[in-house]
């Protein structure tokens, strides 16, 4: 039986964000005898979970119920989620957030010391736990710090995964570059969990960090796992125009107004309810994100948005909340506005526009995080279980990372505990991979050379133009063509940086190649879904079509730039498809 020395583990988790860290703790608590490792291209506490602001949803109050949380999630998702997964999710959510509390997470409290909850878009009852407006930051640091107390959890910090090792039908580890030394390593594992986060960086204006390039999605896709529901990309209605920095939904939950050029609360024109001076749940500014972002586009068409150097925008008005409330409930909003827009939201209105925020789709998994490849699992934003369907509700995804991170952890551990033998000769794949990298990125192309930044820019443009908030067959086809060309041109980049030490030009090239693969899946899935549902809006097919499309899309890579899309029906348990109603 082959052995792979010190870099051999039972379970290897790729990603040190909320999902990955939660998985690591679940494994070591349930199976202390297993060797578990977390590999991450940045130190875990730098993962983008850190930027989540608003909160995490779970039922704890007496006026709430699991069925209410499930219904809000399902209707928010425009019925495209699997209801068995949603039921498991809402049921396990409270315990997960409570577990975080026991690990020290500084949740906001009521006067009597109980957990406080706030309202959030699309939720009809207040159920979002929060740690001021730095929930993701506190959640991630709590998880990371707690993980430090478990000695069995090993870490590969600043290792960049370049491929999955799948042999004899099983995933048996990964190949990764140790950034500090440039060494290419095979890390063997009996099971691998991809917790690599989202892919917002495919688009030009996004709340996502530089590292969110869909790596895990592309790695799984290349290994033969389908990407599910990739056409569903969430725009957040309130990002800062130049930087894409998020102004959390909590700002609206606390009572912020969205105003057009004329100072008018335009959402009242889009079936989102009557304007009231105070926030009303599931209404107006607290409608779901897809509907708010679409309303912005319509206002833009009517010429009622404001023109700016970084695209059109509208105003988010928080002035009436007053300095005290802003400082108490949404201090980070004030800090971000001051630092990045040079304005004080207690005195001035904030310019905002829709920006890409989250991708509902991802690596196809079952309810335990298992992918169709034996030994390969996925959780968090990288995965699509699916509970988010056609539109994720704000504050569901941090909780999702915890619930499904723990589930995938347990399932991967159980599989690994079977101690299947590794295949022989796997280390050879490292030298193949080395040659591939050399050929891909370091060949000379003379004056044919392409630049990473150039291709990236064109990809951004193609995605914004063709696969944005509103899509048509023409726009998508033209973007598909561009992405194919860019994939060709990618083979002609030659990296200037020939150092082995911390070669970020090389990792950027990899990230670009991952993004292009994921982009192709987004576009093809969007082209073939000839209906409008949730965040996927086709101008040429404006209606929802349950007859044909109450099903998940599964995009398989074919190698010629046009994925094959298959469909799998949605699981319905207790909530038959209905109309999404807000503002009532």
């Amino acid at each position: 039986m082959a052995r792979y020395g010190p870099k051999e583990h039972d379970v290897l988790i790729v990603g040190g964000g909320a999902a990955g860290l939660r998985a690591s703790i679940a494994i070591t608590e349930n199976h202390p005898e297993l060797s578990v490792a977390v590999i991450s291209k940045v130190y875990p506490m730098r993962s983008h979970t850190v930027s989540a602001e608003g909160g995490a949803a779970a039922v704890i109050k007496d006026d709430d119920s699991l069925d209410d949380h499930a219904y809000d999630t399902i209707s928010g998702a425009d019925w495209l989620c699997d209801q068995d997964a949603v039921e498991a999710f809402v049921k396990e959510a409270p315990e997960e957030l409570l577990q975080l509390e026991h690990w020290g997470c500084p949740w906001n409290r009521e006067e009597d010391g109980n957990i406080a909850v706030r309202s959030f878009g699309g939720m009809k009852i207040k159920r979002t736990w929060f740690a001021a407006d730095k929930t993701g930051f506190h959640l991630l640091h709590t998880l990371f710090q707690t993980s430090m107390k478990y000695d069995p959890i090993q870490r590969y910090d600043e290792f960049f995964v370049t491929r999955l090792v799948v042999e004899d039908g099983r995933c048996q580890g990964v190949i990764a570059i140790e950034l500090a030394t440039g060494k290419l390593e095979f890390i063997a594992a009996r099971s691998v969990i991809l917790c690599t986060g989202g892919c917002g960086k495919i688009f030009p204006f996004t709340t996502n960090a530089n590292i969110k390039s869909g790596d895990g999605m592309a790695l799984a896709y290349r290994a033969g796992v389908p990407l599910k529901d990739m056409e569903f990309v969430q725009y957040h209605p309130t990002g800062l125009p130049f930087t894409g920095i998020l102004i959390t939904e909590a700002a609206r939950a606390e009572g912020g107004f969205l105003l057009n050029k004329e100072g008018y609360r335009y959402l009242q024109d889009y079936d989102l309810g009557e304007p009231k001076p105070y926030p009303v749940l599931r209404s107006m500014e607290l409608g779901p994100r897809d509907r708010l972002s679409q309303a912005f586009e319509k206002e833009k068409e009517k010429g009622r948005t404001i023109e700016g150097p970084y695209g059109d925008y509208v105003h988010l008005d928080l002035k009436h909340l007053g300095e005290r409330k802003i400082d108490e409930k949404i201090p980070f909003v004030r800090e971000l506005c001051r630092k990045y827009e040079n304005l004080d939201p207690a005195k001035e209105m904030i310019p905002v526009r829709p920006v890409v925020h989250y991708v509902m789709g991802g690596v196809h998994t079952d309810i335990n995080g298992a992918t169709p490849i034996e030994g390969l699992y996925s959780a968090g934003e990288a995965a699509c279980v699916s509970i988010n369907g056609a539109n994720r509700l704000g504050s569901n995804s941090l909780t999702e990372c915890l619930v499904f991170g723990a589930r995938a952890g347990k399932a991967a551990a159980e599989y690994a505990a079977g101690k299947k033998k590794f295949s022989d000769g796997l280390e050879k794949i490292v030298s193949d991979e080395g040659k591939r990298i050399e050929r891909m990125f370091f060949s000379e192309h003379g004056d044919q050379s392409e630049s990473i930044a150039g291709i990236r820019k064109e990809m951004h443009q193609a995605m914004e133009d063709g696969a944005g908030i509103y899509r048509t067959e023409d726009s998508l086809k033209s973007s598909e063509k561009t992405i194919k060309e860019l994939q060709e041109r990618l083979h002609r980049i030659s990296i200037q940086d020939h150092s082995y030490t911390f070669n970020t030009e090389l990792t950027s090239a990899f990230e670009l190649s991952y993004m292009l693969d994921v982009a192709e899946a987004i576009i093809r899935s969007a082209l073939q879904r000839t209906e409008s549902r949730g965040s996927h809006q086709r101008k040429d097919y404006p209606e929802r079509d349950d007859e044909q499309f109450l099903s998940h899309s599964l995009a398989y890579q074919t190698g010629d730039g046009t994925p094959r899309v298959e469909y799998q029906p949605v699981t319905i348990t207790r909530w038959p498809p209905g109309e999404r109603k807000y503002g009532q």
């Binding site: 130190y43 500084p106 500090a180 200037q496």
Partner: protein
């Protein structure tokens, strides 16, 4: 013509040159650009080999700390315009080993964080079935400030003691220990004291206070150390005069 500004960036590529050197780049001086935007401009448009860490570009992931004109700063939260007409000097964080260009070695810092035992310590584990701990907003306020640390390490680069005494656990790690010590749910203070009042612990601090000056998140590590010394001293004094204390 667009206004420009010169960045003098310290380079170091170990396989190629044995010593660090400076390289100048001219970049546009754009409104709303932070220093990090200028570095990204260099990387994308001028020199793909320039190497630095960054991720969130919103001052919360803690990866983009560097010395800007010899002062530690988060480069994604520092406007370029403030340095007009330039030139601006960008060097890696002081007192850390350099891996390459602006990337410093973080391993030591990670070890120091762990020395603070930054997790909730209780005498007995509370089962989940008992529900949440109660903690009033006032109790939360006791440790809140210390929980805001983004591990950006600027305070280490501002601290002369870190430079002189590499074993000094340092400002952020002590603040982190206090974050748990002052948490009403925690009972691990004694355990942390043992670590932090010993060699390389709080008594190495000479109260320069620069750490709190440069902290981008108002964590006030200097204040945390002060408060620690007060309690730490009492504990030490008690263990000398009252040898039975802590032995029951």
């Amino acid at each position: 013509m667009e206004q420009t500004i010169t960045l003098q960036v310290q380079r170091y590529i170990p396989e190629q040159y044995p010593e660090p050197y400076f390289q100048s780049y001219e970049v546009p001086l754009r409104k709303k650009w932070v220093i990090l935007d200028a570095l990204n401009y260099i990387k994308d448009e001028i020199d793909g080999t320039l190497t630095y860490r960054w991720s969130c570009r919103m001052g919360v992931c803690g990866s983009c700390g560097m010395m800007v004109n010899d002062r530690p700063a988060l480069t994604c939260a520092t406007f370029l315009e403030e340095y007009a007409p330039g030139p601006v000097r960008i060097t890696p964080l002081d007192y850390f080993g350099i891996i390459r260009d602006l990337v410093v070695n973080t391993d030591d810092f990670m070890g120091k964080l762990k020395r603070a035992q930054p997790w909730l310590i209780t005498d007995e584990a509370k089962p989940l079935s008992e529900g949440a701990y109660k903690q009033t907003p006032q109790e939360k306020a006791e440790y809140e400030q210390y929980s805001m640390c983004i591990n950006c390490m600027l305070c280490y680069s501002a601290c002369p003691v870190v430079g002189l005494e590499p074993d000094f656990v340092g400002p952020a790690a002590i603040a982190l220990a206090q974050r748990y010590n002052y948490d009403s749910r925690d009972e691990g203070e004694d355990q942390r004291n043992e670590e932090l009042t010993g060699e390389g612990g709080i008594y190495s601090c000479t109260l320069v206070g620069e750490c709190s000056e440069v902290c981008p998140k108002a964590v006030d590590p200097a204040g945390a150390i002060q408060r620690y010394k007060a309690t730490g001293a009492v504990e030490w004094w008690q263990s000398v005069l009252m040898p039975w204390k802590g032995k029951s």
